[in-house]
C-alpha cells in the first residue's frame, strides 16, 4: 500500500483544444508549490486526474502537501488516497476497512461507495463492487448507514492497473492555473483592497506584476516593507511577483504646489495609472489591476473613475468594483492579508489629501490643471521611472 494525493481540477475540464495547456500549467504550479514542501515528489497526469506521489514510494506528510495545495488555483478538490495492488476483493475490503478505521474510528456517517472502473477487465462491475464493499464496511461499522442520495461520506474506489481508494476530500480554490491568463500590472498599496484585487485576478490565471508608490519621508520604510510583505502573501497564491517601487514624492510635491488642492488625489491617481502603464509596457503586461470599488472614496466615484481611466490605453481590471467593504475584508481575512493591511504605517501622506476633495471631477478641468505641471513633469516623470527599484517576490 502506498500513499498518493489525487487531485481533480475545475473549469479546465471544459476547455477544448487548449486543455492540455491548462493541465500542464496546473501541473507546473503544483510542482512549484511542492518543491517548497520538500524534494522527491512526482506529479503525473493520468486520465483527467493529477496524482502526487513520492518518487520512490516513500511516505510523506499529507498535512504539508494539503497546506500547499490549498493555495493552488485550478484545483476543484483533492484527497489523500491509498494505492494498492489488486489482490482480490477480500484483501481490498480488509485494507479499505483498516483505512476507514484509521481515519474515522468513533465517528458515525451515512455513506455510499462509488466505484470507477477504468480497467474494464476487472471481474466485477462498478455497481457490484460498490455493493460488496458497502456490505463489508457495514460489517465493520454497524452504526453507519448507507445513503446513496445524500451521503455524508463518499468512499471512492478507482480500478486502474492498481487500485486507488480514498474518502475524505478537500475543496480546492478552483479558478484557473497560474500563468494561463497572461500578465497584468497591479497597483498595490498598503491597504486592504489592492491585495485582494490581485488575488482575484490571479485566480483567473493571470500572472501579476505590481507597482507601489513610495513617498519618503511622508511614507516610511516600514510602509514599504508592509507592501513587500503583502506582495509576498499574494505571491503565495499567484506565484512570483515583480514589484516596482516608484519614488513618487517629487511628483506629489509638484502636484501639491501647482494644482488645485481639491484635485490633488485625482491628478495623483492619473499619474499613478500612467506610470503603471509604462511598467506594464516594459513587462509585457496587457492590463492594469486596481482595488477600486465604486463610491468607496472620492477618487472612486464613477466620475473620478472616468477621469483616471482616460489616461491609459490598457484595459483596467477592477475585480472589486461592485463589492462592499465587508466583502473585501472577508476575502482579505481568508487569504490572510488583512492583519498586514491594517498595520498603521501609511497615514503620513495625509498632507496630499485635500480636506474636501472633488467627488465629481470633470475631465476637461483636470486636464487644464495638469497643464500647470507642463514645465516640470516630464523631468520628474522620467526620474521617477529611472529611479524605480524592482524587487522580485516569490
Amino acid at each position: 500500500m502506498e500513499k498518493a494525493v489525487i487531485i481533480k481540477y475545475s473549469e479546465i475540464g471544459v476547455k477544448g483544444k487548449n486543455r492540455h495547456l491548462f493541465e500542464e500549467a496546473l501541473v507546473r504550479r503544483i510542482e512549484d508549490v511542492l518543491s517548497k514542501v520538500g524534494d522527491g515528489f512526482k506529479v503525473t497526469r493520468p486520465q483527467g486526474r493529477i496524482f502526487v506521489e513520492s518518487e520512490d514510494g516513500s511516505d510523506f506528510d499529507f498535512e504539508d502537501v494539503k497546506e500547499a495545495l490549498l493555495k493552488v488555483f485550478g484545483i476543484q478538490e483533492f484527497a489523500l488516497c491509498h494505492v494498492t495492488k489488486d489482490d482480490g476483493t477480500e484483501a481490498l475490503a480488509k485494507e479499505l476497512v483498516d483505512f476507514l478505521k484509521e481515519q474515522y474510528e468513533g465517528e458515525v456517517f451515512s455513506f455510499k461507495v462509488n466505484t470507477r472502473r477504468a480497467r474494464k477487465n476487472y471481474p466485477l462491475e462498478s455497481m457490484e463492487l460498490s455493493a460488496l464493499m458497502g456490505e463489508k464496511i457495514l460489517d465493520a461499522f454497524p452504526e453507519w448507514k448507507v445513503d446513496v442520495h445524500d451521503p455524508e461520506l463518499i468512499v471512492h474506489i478507482e480500478i486502474r492497473d492498481k487500485i486507488n481508494y480514498y474518502a475524505k476530500s478537500y475543496q480546492g480554490l478552483r479558478g484557473l492555473p497560474n500563468g494561463t491568463g497572461g500578465r497584468a500590472m497591479l497597483l498595490l498599496s498598503g491597504g486592504i483592497d489592492s491585495p485582494v484585487a490581485g488575488y482575484m485576478m490571479a485566480k483567473r490565471g493571470i500572472v501579476l506584476d505590481a507597482v507601489y508608490f513610495h513617498a519618503p519621508p511622508y511614507t516610511s520604510e516600514r510602509a514599504k516593507q508592509k507592501v513587500v510583505d503583502l506582495a509576498k502573501q499574494v505571491a503565495a497564491y499567484s506565484g512570483e511577483i515583480r514589484l516596482h517601487v516608484v519614488n513618487f514624492t517629487d511628483i506629489q510635491l509638484a502636484i501639491y504646489e501647482k494644482c488645485p488642492h481639491d484635485e490633488l488625489t485625482i491628478i495623483m491617481r492619473r499619474y499613478m495609472m500612467r506610470i503603471a502603464e509604462d511598467f506594464a509596457g516594459q513587462d509585457g503586461a496587457m492590463a492594469l489591476i486596481t482595488g477600486e470599488s465604486v463610491g468607496q472614496v472620492a477618487s472612486q466615484t464613477i466620475q473620478s473613475l472616468n477621469c483616471t481611466n482616460e489616461v491609459c490605453k490598457l484595459p483596467v481590471f477592477r475585480p472589486l468594483i461592485g463589492f462592499d467593504k465587508q466583502d473585501i475584508i472577508d476575502i482579505s481575512q481568508q487569504i490572510e492579508t488583512y492583519e498586514t493591511s491594517i498595520l498603521p504605517y501609511e497615514d503620513c501622506c495625509t498632507i496630499f489629501v485635500a480636506k474636501h476633495p472633488v467627488t465629481k471631477p470633470r475631465a476637461e478641468r483636470i486636464r487644464a490643471s495638469e497643464r500647470k505641471l507642463d514645465d516640470v513633469i516630464d523631468e520628474l516623470y522620467k526620474t521617477a521611472i529611472e529611479t524605480t527599484e524592482t524587487i522580485v517576490i516569490n
Binding site: 497615514d347 489629501v353 485635500a354
Partner: protein, 407 residues
C-alpha cells in the same frame, strides 16, 4: 554622516561589553549552577558584575537582583513588593507621566482592587511635593516615581519625595524607575531612602536583555518567576551570564568618569541652534533657561556650570524634546533619517490609532503640537560635531516640510 540621537530608546553596545558577551557565549559558557569549573567561571562573571553594579550605587552586593531589563525590574519592584507586603494596605501613589512599564502594572493593580493616585505634573513635567504630601495615607503601600522622564527629560525630586514619604509613613515602600538616569545622574538609593530602583542595561551600552533591580536590604519581596531559586529566590531561571557580564563592562565604563559637563554642553549646543528655526519649541525646559542659552555666545564654561547648577529646571542633559509646529513628527523623523539623523517620535503616525503620549498630554502641550513632537537623546559617546550636523539638518528640513501642510 550617521548621527544616532535616539539613545533613550537604546544605545550601541560598548565594544568591550560586546567582546565579553562573545567570549562568554563561545568559551565561558558554563551554567553558574554547575559544580564543575566551567560553572564556577560563569559564576565569577556574575559575582564581578554584582560587585560593579553595587559599587555604582554605593550599596551592598546582596541588594542587586539581575533581571531581563527595565520592564521586568519595574514589574518585579511593583508586584513583588506589594504581594509580599499585603498588610501595608491597598493604596498606591504614582505619576501621570510614568513609562508604560510602570503605568500598565498600575492599571492591572486597579483591576485587582488597589486604589492608585496619579500625581499631576506642571508644564515642565515636574510633580508637586505638596500634592504628594496630601496623598500619603496610613494605607499607602507603595509610591513609585520615575527619576528622569523618558520623553521630555524632566528630573523629578526623588530625594525630597522619598524623605517626605518616609517621614509621613515609614512603612510605605518607595520605588524609583531610574532607567533613563542611571549612569547619567548620580542617585544612591540606600542613602536617600529609595527602597527599590529599576535599571535597564541597554540604555547604558550594555546588551539588550540585561538589567537589575536594587532592593533595600531586608525588604520582603515575592518573585514573579518561580523555579530553581536563582537570584536569592527572587528571579528563577539560569542567569543570562553573557548579558550580565556585558552589563558589568558597560557599568564600569559608564562610571569611570563624570559625563555631566560633556552631556550638558551637548544639550546646550543643540538647543541653542535649533531654536533659531521658526516654529520650534523645546519641552520641559523653562523659558528663562532657554533665554540664557540664547544670550550666551558661544556656549561657554560659565553657562555650562550654571546649567548644571540649575539642572532641576534644565532637565536631564541627554534628552531634548522638540516640537515643530505644522510638521508631523513622523515625517520629520523620516526626513531626518534620510540625512542619517535618528530620533524618535512621541506618537505613532496614524489617524486611526492615535497613540498620543501621556506625558505630553500631562504637561498640557498645545494640542496642535502633540503630533509634532520628536525626541533627541544623546549618549556619552555623542560628539559636538554630530550635534552640529543634526542641527544643521533640522534647520534645513523643518522650513522645507513647513511649506507642505494639509490644506
Amino acid at each position: 554622516m550617521e548621527c544616532y540621537l535616539d539613545n533613550s530608546a537604546t544605545t550601541r553596545c560598548s565594544e568591550r561589553a560586546a567582546e565579553t558577551v562573545n567570549k562568554v557565549l563561545l568559551s565561558d559558557y558554563g551554567n553558574p549552577s554547575s559544580l564543575h569549573n566551567k560553572g564556577m567561571e560563569a559564576e565569577n562573571y556574575i559575582k564581578e558584575a554584582r560587585s560593579a553594579v553595587a559599587k555604582s550605587l554605593k550599596c551592598k552586593e546582596n541588594c542587586i537582583c539581575f533581571t531581563s531589563g527595565g520592564s521586568e525590574s519595574n514589574n518585579l519592584a511593583i508586584f513583588g513588593s506589594l504581594f509580599a507586603n499585603k498588610r501595608l494596605g491597598k493604596h498606591i501613589i504614582t505619576t501621570e507621566v510614568e513609562h508604560a512599564a510602570v503605568y500598565s502594572p498600575m492599571k492591572k493593580l486597579q483591576e485587582m482592587g488597589y486604589e492608585v493616585s496619579f500625581l499631576k505634573v506642571d508644564p515642565w513635567g515636574k510633580i508637586d511635593l505638596v500634592e504628594l504630601e496630601s496623598l500619603i495615607r496610613e494605607d499607602t503601600a507603595l509610591v513609585s516615581i520615575m527619576h528622569v522622564n523618558n520623553e521630555i527629560g524632566t528630573i523629578e525630586p526623588i530625594e525630597e519625595a522619598a524623605k517626605l514619604v518616609h517621614k509621613l509613613n515609614p512603612n510605605t515602600i518607595f520605588h524609583c524607575d531610574a532607567i533613563q538616569s542611571y549612569g547619567k545622574l548620580p542617585l544612591y538609593p540606600g542613602r536617600i531612602g529609595v527602597d527599590l530602583m529599576s535599571v535597564s542595561g541597554h540604555k547604558i551600552h550594555a546588551p539588550k536583555g540585561s538589567g537589575f533591580l536594587y532592593i533595600k536590604e531586608g525588604l520582603k519581596m515575592e518573585p514573579l518567576i518561580y523555579g530553581g531559586g536563582h537570584e536569592n529566590g527572587l528571579r528563577s531561571g539560569t542567569e543570562n551570564v553573557p548579558a550580565i557580564a556585558g552589563l558589568s563592562c558597560a557599568v564600569e565604563e559608564m562610571f569611570k568618569e563624570d559625563h555631566t559637563k560633556k552631556l550638558c554642553k551637548l544639550k546646550a549646543e543643540f538647543i541653542k541652534r535649533i531654536i533659531e528655526t521658526e516654529g520650534i519649541s523645546v519641552n520641559g525646559v523653562k523659558a528663562e533657561i532657554i533665554n540664557e542659552i540664547k544670550g550666551s555666545d558661544p556656549v561657554d564654561e560659565k553657562l555650562i556650570d550654571k546649567l548644571i547648577e540649575e539642572k532641576e529646571d534644565f532637565g536631564a542633559f541627554h534628552i531634548v524634546s522638540v516640537s515643530a509646529e505644522g510638521v508631523r513628527a513622523e515625517v520629520l523623523l523620516h526626513a531626518l533619517e534620510e540625512e542619517g539623523v535618528y530620533c524618535s517620535a512621541g506618537s505613532a503616525c496614524s489617524s486611526n490609532r492615535p497613540a498620543i503620549s501621556r506625558t505630553l498630554l500631562a504637561i498640557g502641550l498645545d494640542e496642535k503640537l502633540l503630533d509634532s513632537t520628536v525626541r533627541f537623546s544623546f549618549s556619552i559617546y555623542t560628539t559636538v560635531d554630530e550635534i552640529l550636523y543634526a542641527c544643521e539638518k533640522i534647520n534645513e528640513i523643518i522650513p522645507r516640510l513647513n511649506k507642505y501642510t494639509r490644506k
